[in-house]
């Protein structure tokens, strides 16, 4: 990055360290933190949306909708995360290519599955072979986000179902007695009041989501764990910046990063919880009332 780092073999000490920490590979390492934070920023609301849909579906009076909702939560919660991830990402990738194959190459005579190969016509490959690697990376990342959201959405659906059932029946009956329709009761009374009951479960899920981001590494996305392992391994003179096994320091840095993330999240969620407890008939709400008098 700096012109003084042009010949790394001739510098030593602190300058070597500075040049090392600003080499191209290390810049990729720092950008991968942005990747992880982007994953969290996109997955959280999408998972919440999936969870909402799943929770409402599970409570629906219509049997098929209810089965879909309960099937979704049961299946995702019942299968280990890693197994679901590895299976689902491959299945989704092949499923999308299979569909585009049916659309774009209707007269392709060879079978798609040949022996161990999955071979669609070149126009149906998503992304195209000729696309730059960045698009392949973005597509892989997108698949990962979708899978993360699906998995955490199932857990969120469970939390939200429990929260919706925890809202006192008296509140809903009051709404009904005022002549509100079921939808109005849902919008105006159930959903606003369920948040305080949902928050402990959702904040727990958020912490688990933070800790689950290394699954990106399993999916082949170049996240912080990938770079830490790559950069930390001992390097011979074939590299510009040879060094011994520094994996301990890199993983220690990751440890501190994750601790800081979860600590900061804990602080923010505690604030939100306080805010939502105002006026509620929970222990926290009661404590606020006592403190005010």
């Amino acid at each position: 990055m700096f012109s003084s780092c042009a010949d790394p073999k001739s510098i030593e000490g602190l300058q070597w360290l500075l040049c090392y920490l600003t080499s191209g590979k290390h810049l990729d390492f720092y950008w991968s933190f942005v990747t992880v934070l982007t994953l969290l920023a996109i997955t959280a609301p999408v998972a919440l949306a999936f969870g909402f849909v799943g929770a409402l579906a599970s409570r629906s009076p219509l049997l098929p909708v209810r089965l879909v909702g309960q099937g979704y939560t049961g299946m995702v919660r019942g299968i280990p995360d890693i197994v679901f991830f590895l299976f689902f990402v491959i299945a989704l990738d092949q499923g999308i290519e299979w569909m585009t194959h049916q659309i774009r190459c209707p007269d392709w005579t060879e079978p798609i599955r040949q022996g161990l190969e999955f071979r669609v016509c070149p126009e149906a490959k998503v992304p195209q072979n000729s696309a730059a690697q960045i698009w392949h990376s973005i597509y892989g990342f997108g698949l990962a986000i979708f899978t993360f959201s699906l998995v955490f959405g199932a857990f969120a659906a469970n939390v939200l179902t429990g929260a919706m059932q925890a809202v006192p029946r008296a509140q809903l009956e009051t709404g009904e007695s005022y002549g509100m329709s079921q939808r109005q009761v849902l919008h105006r009374i159930l959903v606003p009041q369920m948040w305080v009951y949902a928050l402990p479960g959702l904040s727990n899920l958020w912490m688990i989501l933070i800790k689950a981001t290394p699954l990106l590494f399993l999916l082949g996305v170049r996240d912080i764990v990938y770079w830490a392992r790559e950069l930390g391994g001992s390097k011979t003179q074939a590299y510009e910046y040879p060094h011994s096994d520094w994996r301990l320091y890199y993983f220690l840095f990751l440890l501190c990063f994750y601790l800081a993330m979860t600590h900061f999240s804990g602080l923010v969620l505690a604030r939100v919880s306080q805010r939502l407890s105002r006026g509620q008939a929970t222990a926290a709400g009661e404590a606020q009332r006592k403190a005010a008098t």
Binding site: P8, G24, G115, R119, S130, Q133, D245
Partner: protein
């Protein structure tokens, strides 16, 4: 008139497809001097040079992709990339699932590296990378096999005492042993394994295999392959 437009359109499409044939080359990126990711973040090493040259000779546009070793063959078959160029030795077992091109590196020796000259490689714990011919060889010898996902980790296991020795390609271990300052040393006799290193291709990609075979033969014939071997492995390595 309609036929004319249709045929020109078809020709344009197919011609376009032929010119813009991008081949994706999959490599591991963790096996210097064969392939590694340099400090600028790009794929580098012997196979980078060979791959670029082969693509130039076969008139293909090539894109480099990295993939972890243990999923490198399944991802080839899923179509994530078109060629495996990752120091993969030609073996009968692998030939059952994928096709190999001609070898572009002669059959080479694998050796043991240990932290002590009297390390017990016959019956002790020997580390190797998972899914390699070296791992298969250790499993069939009397030693206890300890497998790791990356070659780096298999060497680190010897340094921290988890294994008494590591069994890997001699060309991979030589620079590591030389730079270890006496901490690691070669022990035992080298073992010839595999039929040289070749490109891995899908069974159905016969056209691509033919193109690469022609290019590799040409590189062997005019000596440019030997020049690259000497550049990355030193003058003492076996050449074509």
């Amino acid at each position: 008139m309609k036929k004319l437009i249709l045929t020109t359109a078809l020709l344009a499409l197919t011609a376009g497809a032929a010119m813009a044939q991008t081949i994706r080359l999959g490599t591991e990126g963790a096996y210097p001097p064969f392939n590694f990711i340099n400090d600028a973040g790009e794929v580098a090493g012997f196979e980078r040079d060979v791959g670029d040259e082969l693509c130039k000779r076969a008139a293909l546009t090539c894109e480099w992709v990295t993939n972890d070793w243990d999923s490198i063959i399944p991802n080839l078959q899923s179509g994530n990339y078109d060629v495996i160029i990752a120091g993969m030795s030609i073996t009968a077992e692998r030939d059952e699932v994928i096709n190999f091109s001609e070898n572009y590196f002669p059959p080479a020796a694998s050796a043991y590296a240990a932290s002590a000259a009297d390390a017990d490689i016959e019956t002790g714990v020997v580390s190797a990378q998972v899914g390699t011919i070296q791992a298969g060889y250790v499993a069939e010898s009397g030693a206890t096999l300890l497998e790791f996902a990356t070659p780096d980790e298999s060497v680190a296991a010897v340094r921290n005492g988890e294994a008494v020795a590591v069994f890997a390609d001699k060309d991979f271990l030589a620079p590591i042993v030389a730079e270890s300052g006496g901490a690691l040393m070669m022990v035992g006799d080298p073992v010839q394994l595999g039929g040289g290193i070749g490109l891995g291709l899908r069974d159905s990609d016969t056209e691509l295999k033919a193109k690469f075979d022609i290019a590799i033969k040409a590189m062997k014939a005019d000596g440019s392959l030997n020049v690259l071997i000497e550049k990355h492995f030193g003058p003492a390595t076996a050449k074509f």
